[in-house]
Every structure is written in C-alpha cells, then in structure tokens.
C-alpha cells in the first residue's frame, strides 16, 4: 500500500466514523414515549413474538424493541447494563433469589420498580407470591407457572405395554421392565449442568418440602441443613435409580438435546424435565405421539406424591426506565388473562394465575390439577440465598454419578455453599 492510498484510507475511515457517529447518536438516544425496550433469554422468544405483536395491535403507534440472548450472556450483559444505567425498560428476571438476575437480588440493589400498586400484584397464588416480592413489596410479575416431572412418551409406553409408575417401588420395577424391552426408562442428559438438578427437584417435594413446608425458613434460620435432612434420601434414591439401570449407559456424556431426542424417537420412554420439554419433544417426534407430564413418585404411598411447580417466566420494570409508563402498561397487559394465556399457550406452560379461559394442553393437565390442589412446591433454588448453592448441586450430582464423591460429603458441600453467602 502506498503512502497516498494509506492517507486516503485513513481520511475515509475518519469520515465514515464521524458520519455514522452522528447518525447513530441521534437514533440511539431514543427516549420517545412510543418505544419500549425489553430484554429476555432466548427461551422466551416465541412467547414474546406473540405477546408483543398483540400488544402493538392493541396500542397502535407503539414500538417494542426486544433483544434475546442465551442465559449466560443475558445475565452478564443485563447486570452490566443495570449497574451502568443503560438497561432496557422491561427486564426478564428469575423468581426468588438463587440467581444473579433473580427478583430479590436485583430489587435489593435498587434496580426494580415497586409494582405493589398494580391491580394484579396481590392475585398470585401463595406458591408464587413470595418469589415476586422483596421486603413485602412486589417487584416482579410472574407470567407463567411451570413444573418438573417425568415426561412420558405414551405412544412408546403403550407399545411396550407399560404404564407410568405411581409408587417408588413401582418406579424401580418400571425401570427393569423397560430394560427387558430394550428401552431406557428415564433418559438423563446430565452433561448439561442444569439438567442434573431435576431429579432431586422432583423427589424433594414429596420427601422434604411437602412433609415440612417450613423447611426453607428452617434453613435460613440455621435450624436445618441439607446433610441432616431428607435431602440425603433424595440423593440416595437418585443413585438407586442409577444402580437399578433406570438411565441409559452414559448420562454424563449425554446432553439435554440428546436426551429429548431419545424420548422423541421412543428409544427412551421418559425423561425427567421441565414442562417446556413437552413442546420440544413433540416438535421432533412423529406426528400423533402422545406425551404426558406426571409427578415422580418418591414413596410407596401414591397419595403422598407432590410435584415441583413454580413461577416460570417473570418480568420486572427497570427502576431507571426511560419509558416507565409504557413499561407498566406492558406489564399490565402481560398480567391480563389475555396476555398471560397467550404467553403460556405459546411457551407450553400454565398461566401464573389459574383462570378458566385457558385451554390446557392435555400433557399438562396433571400439573394444572396439582397446582389447583396445592400439591406443588416451589423450585428449591428460588429460596436459596445465593447462586453458589445451585451450581454446587450441579457439580456434586455429576461427581455422584461418576462415583467420585459420596452423598454426605456432597450435601456438606451444598451446606457450605449455602452459608458462604455473598
């Protein structure tokens, strides 16, 4: 490159930079009353597409700019934006406090708008209300209710001549029967770290949180620990399932997607998952495949069995929102039966506030019934004081499955993460 062309290039660069700086400068500072900004994780994208379209239809002239990113990136960018005062008007938050972007964490730092005066603030069922609040005030709005259970491929079950177990010994028997037919009873995608927690989450409502509803408070008062509770029972049952051949050969080498694919193909009869797996499996399975989300039994008394069910998609309003009025208007739309049902329908979940106009997917009927009967307990991490506890759970489950640790030291690690605080 010659001197002249280099000079010309640098002039061109300078010109382009200053030009687009002007252009960008005017458009990026868009604080006009007609534009709402929003950010969420990519899991919410299909539901957001639907509700945003509806919201714009009801409010002509309003524009909603929303960004979605994968979970890790979402947490990193949104925390940075909140602390720099540049976050969008409406942000996706997690219920409770066991997550870096959880309602109570963000509200405590002063970045969420107090929504206690909104008409819907008191309408949440008792299982959801506490996780939307901090210091007695409502800071976030739960839109959906989601649950954890075993998603059965009923078509494959019928072909194998098997029915979903309703007791713990029935479950172990089911595993050996499935094995005899050449099928995996419960496909386990334990390579994906958050999947590791789902079996304890589906067993502890029956073993720990149902019999002692005040267990979360006991833990925070220091009166209870993981190691000295029935959590050891749950972990023990996890390993019992592994020893009984309930899982496929390499759970630690199988990820979330592969585990769903196995159920969709019918190679595995079931997978213990969040309700969203129902939608993901039916997308891949041959048409007409019947799926059903059912609780996982943990005792030999079928009527004891409870389910983990909790607030799912949740949003909060940025306390420093450029367009607070529009943000609150959007939240009110989300919390209206119309908005909530549309969101839940698209995301294959249940509305956070049960209502009769919601048409439930048959696969989720049991979850809906349990929600109505109060036979659900919140996801455990929503009541944990920091995100370390959950990450420790992921790690110790992988170690347990690999035979690298034992149950008592695994639970002690979780206890020490619980008390470490932050």
């Amino acid at each position: 490159m010659h001197k002249k062309s280099l000079l010309a290039l640098s002039v061109a660069v300078a010109a382009a930079v200053s030009l687009s700086a002007c252009a960008g400068g005017s458009s990026s500072s868009s604080g006009d009353a007609k534009t709402l900004t929003l950010a969420a994780t990519t899991n919410e994208k299909p539901a957001l597409d639907a509700v945003v379209a509806k919201f714009k239809e009801q409010n002509p002239g309003v524009d909603v700019k929303y960004t979605t990113s994968a979970l890790d990136q979402y947490q990193t960018t949104t925390r940075t934006q909140l602390s720099s005062g540049t976050a969008p008007d409406v942000v996706f938050v997690w219920p409770g406090e066991g997550n870096p972007m959880a309602t109570q964490v963000v509200a405590k730092a002063g970045y969420l708008e107090d929504l206690s005066n909104q008409s819907w603030a008191n309408s949440f069922p008792s299982g959801i209300k506490p996780v939307t609040q901090y210091n007695g005030k409502t800071y976030s709005a739960a839109v959906t209710f989601s649950g954890i259970g075993a998603v059965y491929n009923m078509t494959a079950m019928n072909q194998a001549g098997l029915t979903p177990p309703t007791t713990w010994s029935g479950l172990l028997q089911f595993c050996s029967q499935a094995k005899a037919k050449g099928k995996t009873a419960f496909e386990l995608g334990a390579q994906t770290n958050w999947v590791t927690q789902l079996i304890p989450y589906s067993l502890t409502p029956t073993l720990v949180y149902g019999p002692n509803p005040s267990f979360p408070e006991d833990m925070s008062n220091g009166k209870a620990t993981f190691a000295n509770s029935k959590w050891s029972d749950a972990m023990n049952k996890y390993l019992q399932m592994q020893n009984a051949g309930c899982f496929q050969a390499n759970p630690l080498g199988t990820d979330y997607n592969a585990s769903l694919a196995a159920v969709a193909k019918g190679n595995a009869l079931s997978v213990i998952q969040v309700n969203s797996a129902v939608a993901a499996i039916s997308q891949q399975a041959t048409q007409g495949t019947q799926l059903n989300l059912l609780p996982v039994p943990a005792t030999d008394n079928a009527s004891d069995t409870r389910m983990a069910g909790a607030a799912g998609s949740t949003y909060g309003v940025n306390a420093h929102a450029k367009n607070k009025d529009l943000a609150i208007k959007f939240m009110n739309f989300l919390e209206s039966p119309d908005g909530m049902n549309l969101y839940a329908q698209t995301n294959k979940a249940l509305p956070a506030v049960p209502n009769d106009s919601f048409k439930v997917d048959p696969a989720l009927a049991t979850l809906q019934q349990d929600q109505k009967d109060g036979k659900t307990d919140a996801f455990m991490d929503q009541n944990w004081p920091n995100a370390r506890v959950q990450q420790t759970l992921f790690q110790v489950v992988q170690d347990l499955l690999a035979g690298k640790t034992d149950i008592s030291s695994a639970l002690k690690q979780m206890d020490s993460a619980y008390t470490q605080g932050s």
Binding site: L9, V17, S20, G24, K45
Partner: protein, 273 residues
C-alpha cells in the same frame, strides 16, 4: 528443482488425506445444515433430500442480511485502523534499540495477557458516556485498541527479521524514516500484513460478547449475535445455526483464498526486485 517427482506425489497423497481428516467435521457441519431438522440419519451420511430451507430460514430469522452489513462495516474499518497503526508502531519498536523502545514493546505485550473481564465494565461506562452505545462505531474503536498488542507483536517480530540492507540503501538515497517505512518496510512485510489482516478479521468477525453488550437495544446487530439470538437453552435449532454459520464463514474463506495468492506473489517479487 521444479519437477513433480514421485516423492512429491507421495507427499501430495499424505497431505490430501490429512486435509480430508481435518475437513471432516466441517463436512458434517455443512451436511447438517443441508438436512431437515427431523432427519435422524447419521451425521456422516450425506443428506439425501437436500433442503435449502435452513439457509433461507437462518437468513430471514436471524436477519442475516442486515447483520452482514453491520459486521462488514465494523470489520473493514477496525482492521484498516489496526493495520495502519500497528505496522507504524512496530517499525521503531523493531529497529530502535534504545530503552524507551524496549519498554514500550513490553507495555504493549501486557495487553496480550490481560483477561477481558478486567476492562469490561469501566470500558462500557466510558462508551456510554461517549454516547456510542447502540452505534457500531463503538466496536470499531474497541477492536482498534484491543487488537493493537497482538498486531504489534506480529509486526515487530517479522520486521526484526528483515535485513537492514534495504533501508540503508534507501537512506543513502536520502530517504527519511517515513519514506523508509512506506517504500521499503511495508511492502517487504506484505505476507505479515496479510496474516495480520486475516487473523484480525477472524477475531472481529467472530466476537460475540462485546457486540451483544454494545449494540443491544439497537436494530443493528453483528452476525454472531444475530445468529445465536435463536439458540435457546430448551430448543436448539442446530440445523438453522449451522446453515447460518456456513453463510457467515464463506466471505472470510473466499477473502483468504483470494488474498493468499496476491500476497505470496507480491512478496516474492518484492524480495527479488
């Protein structure tokens, strides 16, 4: 020694085999991009019913057309700045043996070591204060600074290996350092410039977290951000993502292929001439 001997042939056979092994995963990537999402056949089996649906879906769902424009803008301008300022800086760093030169080189090298987490938040607030959030210019500035240590390192190493004779000849003709640099050094290190360009393009083109942070909320997005905006925790549409990847790596590969010939030719003539 220009004959094509049987030794050459054996070497050729071995290298082609190695090339195939290296390329196999890429083949699988392309193959998956051509398959329907519900195609359960082995990833090795060639797609039987080719579909270009994934490509058009990726293109429209991720709004790749717009993203390619933004990415191209950011890449071209930042790499142009990087090459200009780094080559210029490397010249005295490579030639001057005085203490300030060694210290400066050392200070630049520190930049290679620093983890990105350190500067993340302070830089973000600076860009915010400059009013450049949501503006691709912020990325041009960012990469121009970020990639300086790497590029200076490459240039300095190679300029040191260039014999001084050429500059001496030029200086006898009365050339100052400016002319020595532009008429002697810069043409001589053309293969390095090619390397610096292609390796910087890679980094800028593929970077993910920075554009996500700086451009979020604006309608302009770079290719990786657009591409991964529909990869979710629950439903991963890999056929779509791989199709999108094929679209986005193609421009870089074509550029590399086109560039390497001219670079190599230019260099050979530069040395002999």
């Amino acid at each position: 020694m220009n004959r094509y001997t049987w030794r050459t042939f054996i070497l050729e056979a071995v290298m082609v085999l190695v090339g195939i092994v290296f390329f196999l995963p890429v083949y699988i990537l392309i193959n998956l991009a051509l398959k329907k999402p519900d195609d359960a056949s082995s990833p090795l089996a060639p797609a039987t019913s080719l579909t270009f649906q994934n490509f058009s879906d990726a293109w429209s769902q991720a709004n790749l057309g717009q993203a390619l424009v933004t990415s191209a803008f950011v890449t071209v301008f930042s790499v142009a700045i990087i090459v200009a300022i780094s080559a210029l800086a490397a010249y005295p760093l490579a030639r001057v043996t005085k203490r300030w030169s060694r210290w400066l080189f050392f200070i630049f090298m520190i930049g290679l070591l620093l983890p990105f987490q350190l500067a993340l938040i302070p830089l973000y607030t600076t860009i915010r204060d400059l009013g450049l959030l949501g503006n691709p210019v912020s990325l041009v500035l960012y990469y121009a600074g970020l990639q300086v240590p790497f590029s200076v390192f490459l240039y300095t190493g190679f300029i040191r290996a260039v014999p001084l004779d050429y500059e001496e000849a030029a200086s006898i003709d009365g050339a100052g350092p400016m002319r020595s640099f532009f008429s002697v050094i810069f043409p001589l290190v053309r293969p390095i410039t090619g390397t610096v360009i292609i390796l910087n393009v890679l980094h800028v083109w593929n970077d993910f977290l920075t554009p996500l942070l700086y451009l979020s909320g604006s309608s302009q997005q770079t290719v990786p951000v657009a591409l991964f905006s529909f990869v979710s925790q629950y439903v991963s549409q890999w056929n779509l993502v791989f199709a999108g990847l094929v679209i986005t790596i193609a421009p870089i590969l074509i550029a590399y292929f086109a560039m390497q010939k001219t670079i190599i030719k230019g260099f050979a003539s530069g040395l002999k001439g």
